[in-house]
């Protein structure tokens, strides 16, 4: 009951609702770099994320709660703890990491099967485009079998977190979809 009332108050007082966005992907894909690129507009030096980072950012009059979850094999099982009330998932792929494309694909589809994520939009970043030998967005899309996705708004954007390319474009698309579908 307490929860119910406090959420009532939140609404009555016009407290801003936060949109929860998850950044997922294998370790080393560039999730943390993307999060802080969004948050402070700079490239930070990252260490493997043991656990998660979460930042709140205001974007186009929306309050976004962006979660960057660690991508190590040992942490992936806990991703699901974070699915509740998620508006969108940003899945980051290291486009140079061809060996693990199939693992990335498997994790992606596994995740999308979750009940709690049925309504979430999906944005895939084919990251590290600045690197020689990086697969293009459409190649990554193929590797990930994105075409198979049904009943979901999704998009794949070529990006370089280091250079700051593609990130805002991707996010703009995502916000538009969320606005249209969920608000």
């Amino acid at each position: 009951m307490g929860n119910f009332f406090s959420s009532m108050f939140d609404r009555l007082l016009g407290a801003e609702k936060e949109l929860r966005i998850l950044i997922l992907g294998l370790d080393g894909a560039g999730k943390t770099t993307i999060l802080y690129r969004l948050q402070i507009g700079e490239v930070i030096t990252t260490k493997p994320t043991i656990g998660f980072n979460v930042e709140t950012l205001n974007y186009k009059n929306l309050k976004l709660n962006v979660w960057d979850l660690g991508g190590q094999t040992s942490i992936r099982p806990y991703w699901r703890c974070y699915y509740a009330n998620t508006a969108a998932v940003i899945f980051v792929v290291d486009s140079t990491d061809k060996d693990r494309m199939n693992i990335a694909s498997k994790e992606l589809h596994l995740m999308l099967q979750e009940e709690e994520l049925q309504d979430s939009a999906l944005l895939v970043f084919a990251n590290k485009q600045d690197q020689p030998g990086a697969l293009s967005a459409s190649e990554v899309s193929k590797e990930l079998n994105l075409a198979e996705l049904k009943d979901r708004s999704w998009s794949i954007v070529a990006s370089s977190a280091i250079k700051g390319e593609g990130i805002t474009e991707g996010l703009d698309w995502l916000i538009d979809v969320i606005k249209e579908e969920q608000m």
């Binding site: 929860n3 406090s6 939140d10 660690g70 806990y78 703890c81 509740a84």
Partner: protein, 700 residues
């Protein structure tokens, strides 16, 4: 498709707005609150969860969802989540992996409170996954700009050492700790010192604490004034353990510590007293003024709550044994107040007797009057102690005082003659006191014959002597009195006791044996024979039996009579000088060193409290056959060791509980007090999580 989804969403929200009675119960609702899109709702849920946690409910299943809320700008919420994590981390070690990143980044947060909270929590969670990542945050916080963070970090080193000493060594943070002793901030210095002490206790070989202290005496003295109470206690304790290089250093320590005798916190006062007392003997010259100051400080402890008074009194008792000059003029402060609890009263009596100046008859007389009043109290134990004190006072005055014509001794004896008549319920202690005084007087005959005769008449008239005494000491003294101061009808008087011989305590048995042998000419040979037989067959105490054998042999040889008389010649018996007990020199030395600790309350040095491994030495005196037997027993015992060890553990835990409780008396305030305590409960896993919780609460 978009429209579809919007409708679905709308419906779901609408349902949520309606107050729905959840059938999945409270936990389900709390979980919903935790993942809400509204910050206030999440915070409310967390509050509620912490409430449930502190009231003892198990809300650990919400761990992952609570954890999500740890990353927040809201400090209050962060504290609550930290509290939760600290409490449940050990039950969810696998989930702790999710929190590492937050700990590490919080340890670099711009807010020093958050930095401290992060490192503090990290260092006390007994989960490898977390300790694995502690290096960077720990190093960072150890050299933090903010002294509050640094002082937390140094304590964390000690906690970490407790959890994983190898890791501590590997990281080399013990060196950082030693460096912290030269920090600018007094609290950091004190905490570093405390941490080093704790580490030294956990593993005595790991650091050379003595050397570290002696290198830093000047620093400690300098920061002493700026420290919190707790930090002062830590530093003063270290200074007390420090062996000074020369009298100068002791003098310096004393000079700097003296002002702290006036502190409001009794713990600080007591530890300052200790520090000064320990360094006092090193001085070449001691001014009287220092004794006055120490006395004043001890007197100030008598205006504290009774529990602390009790601790103070126990400590004073030890101090007086070593420094009888102290408190000379402060007799009155120890007079018993009617509303003192019994345990305080008893201690006060003890102190009064030690303090009373025998060279001032007026004071002795005053104390005597006071004690007579106490003896009219209704509490049996207190009256017993008061009566005993009266006889002790008489002996003390007569033995060392100016009362050359022994008026005092006789006055007290006369008093006893009347008490013995009036207070029959105190026969046991009265017999003991009267006999003590007579034994003290045996050589000098200072006590008037009339008193002895009166006593003899009263005591001889007592009936039912096999039931009127409640203690071994009472009846044993009765026999001593009867056999020494009355001669008629000995057999009739003793017969009731002889009849219940095997129920008598060994002191009484011994007394009976010696009394009858001494008076062997005044009793029939049949009676003597009977006593000797009883004492050689029906006794449990081997001393009684051996003694009886010896007497029997003496009596059966030609000049036996002569030998016996010689044995009982009162000039041969060592004279009783005082009935006040004193600590042995070694015990006193350890107790002084342990003043204001628990051992001072128990009058038992720490070394005697623990099970000592030197039982082996006893074996040296035994012969080979016995050794063989012992070896067999040992092997048999080892087979049952599991069970024995278990029992040992549980009782050890129980006693630590009591120790901790009492320890609170000493560690009056401060967050480090908790560290000490949690260190003590470290084998007691049930307690650790609780103490983590209190640790964290402290921060808030």
């Amino acid at each position: 498709m978009g429209v579809d989804k919007k409708i679905k969403k709308f419906l779901r929200d609408a349902i949520r707005v309606a107050p729905k009675i959840s059938n999945k119960g409270e936990l389900f609702e709390l979980r919903n609150g935790l993942v809400s899109q509204y910050p206030q709702t999440r915070k409310d849920a967390i509050r509620k969860i912490i409430q449930q946690m502190t009231s003892g409910k198990d809300v650990s299943s919400l761990f992952p969802d609570v954890l999500k809320n740890i990353a927040t700008q809201d400090i209050e919420q962060k504290k609550l989540v930290y509290l939760y994590v600290a409490n449940y981390a050990e039950t969810h070690p696998e989930l702790c992996i999710l929190v590492v990143n937050t700990f590490v980044s919080d340890a670099a947060d711009p807010n020093p409170l958050i930095r401290s909270m992060a490192i503090r929590t990290m260092s006390m969670i007994r989960v490898d996954k977390i300790l694995e990542y502690i290096e960077i945050p720990l190093r960072k916080t150890l050299v933090d700009d903010n002294p509050y963070v640094r002082r937390t970090a140094v304590l964390c080193v000690a906690k970490l050492f407790q959890l994983n000493p190898d890791l501590c060594r590997e990281l080399g943070v013990l060196n950082d700790l030693q460096d912290a002793l030269s920090d600018d901030n007094p609290m950091v210095v004190a905490n570093a010192l405390a941490a080093l002490h704790e580490i030294n206790e956990l593993d005595p070989g790991s650091i050379d604490i003595k050397k570290l202290v002696s290198q830093n005496v000047k620093r400690f003295l300098n920061v002493l004034n700026e420290c919190t109470e707790w930090a002062r206690i830590t530093i003063l304790e270290s200074l007390s353990e420090h062996k000074p290089i020369d009298p100068m250093e002791s003098q310096e320590i004393i000079d700097r510590v003296v002002p702290h005798l006036q502190h409001v916190n009794p713990s600080v006062v007591l530890i300052s007293v200790k520090c000064i007392l320990i360094h006092l003997p090193n001085l070449n010259t001691v001014h009287d003024s220092i004794y006055n100051k120490l006395s004043t400080a001890l007197v100030s402890l008598m205006s504290t709550p009774v529990e602390i008074q009790y601790v103070a009194l126990r400590n004073i008792r030890i101090i007086l044994d070593a420094f009888p000059n102290l408190l000379r003029k402060e007799l009155r402060i120890f007079y018993v107040k009617f509303n003192d609890p019994l345990y305080v009263k008893i201690e006060k009596l003890d102190i009064l007797l030690r303090l009373v100046p025998v060279d001032n008859l007026k004071h002795c007389q005053m104390l005597f009057n006071e004690l007579k009043e106490y003896a009219k109290d209704f509490d049996h134990e207190f009256v017993t102690k008061a009566i005993q004190s009266i006889s002790q006072l008489a002996i003390k005055v007569s033995n060392g005082g100016e009362d050359t014509n022994n008026k005092f001794l006789n006055m007290v004896m006369e008093e006893f003659v009347s008490i013995v008549q009036e207070r029959e319920e105190f026969r046991d202690i009265l017999m003991r006191c009267v006999c003590d005084m007579l034994r003290y007087d045996s050589d000098n005959n200072l006590i008037k014959e009339t008193s002895k005769n009166e006593l003899g008449a009263i005591i001889s008239s007592w009936q039912d002597i096999d039931t009127i005494f409640t203690s071994d000491l009472g009846s044993c003294n009765y026999i001593w009195f009867i056999t020494n101061y009355t001669n008629e009808n000995l057999e009739t008087k003793l017969e009731p006791l002889v009849e219940v011989f095997d129920e008598l305590g060994s002191l009484t048995q011994m007394s009976l044996l010696m009394g009858v042998v001494k008076c062997h000419n005044a009793v029939s040979s049949a009676f003597l024979q009977k006593i000797l037989e009883l004492c050689t067959t029906d006794v449990h105490d081997l001393d009684v039996r051996d003694m009886a054998m010896m007497y029997w042999r003496c009596l059966s040889i030609d000049n036996g009579d002569q030998i016996i008389n010689q044995l009982f010649d009162k000039h041969e018996i060592p004279k009783l000088h005082s009935t006040l007990d004193h600590f042995s020199k070694e015990t006193l030395q350890s107790l002084l060193q342990e003043l204001s600790t628990l051992s001072s309350v128990y009058f038992k040095p720490i070394s005697q409290m623990q099970r000592r491994p030197n039982e082996v030495h006893i074996i040296k005196d035994k012969d080979i056959d016995e050794l063989k037997g012992m070896a067999t027993n040992e092997i048999l015992k080892n087979m049952n060791d599991d069970v024995l060890l278990d029992m040992g553990d549980s009782s050890a835990t129980r006693s630590t509980g009591v120790l901790d409780e009492l320890n609170d008396l000493f560690d009056i305030t401060g967050d480090m007090g908790k560290v000490n305590i949690s260190q003590k409960t470290n084998n007691n896993n049930n307690n650790t999580s609780n103490s983590h919780a209190t640790d964290l609460l402290d921060l808030m």
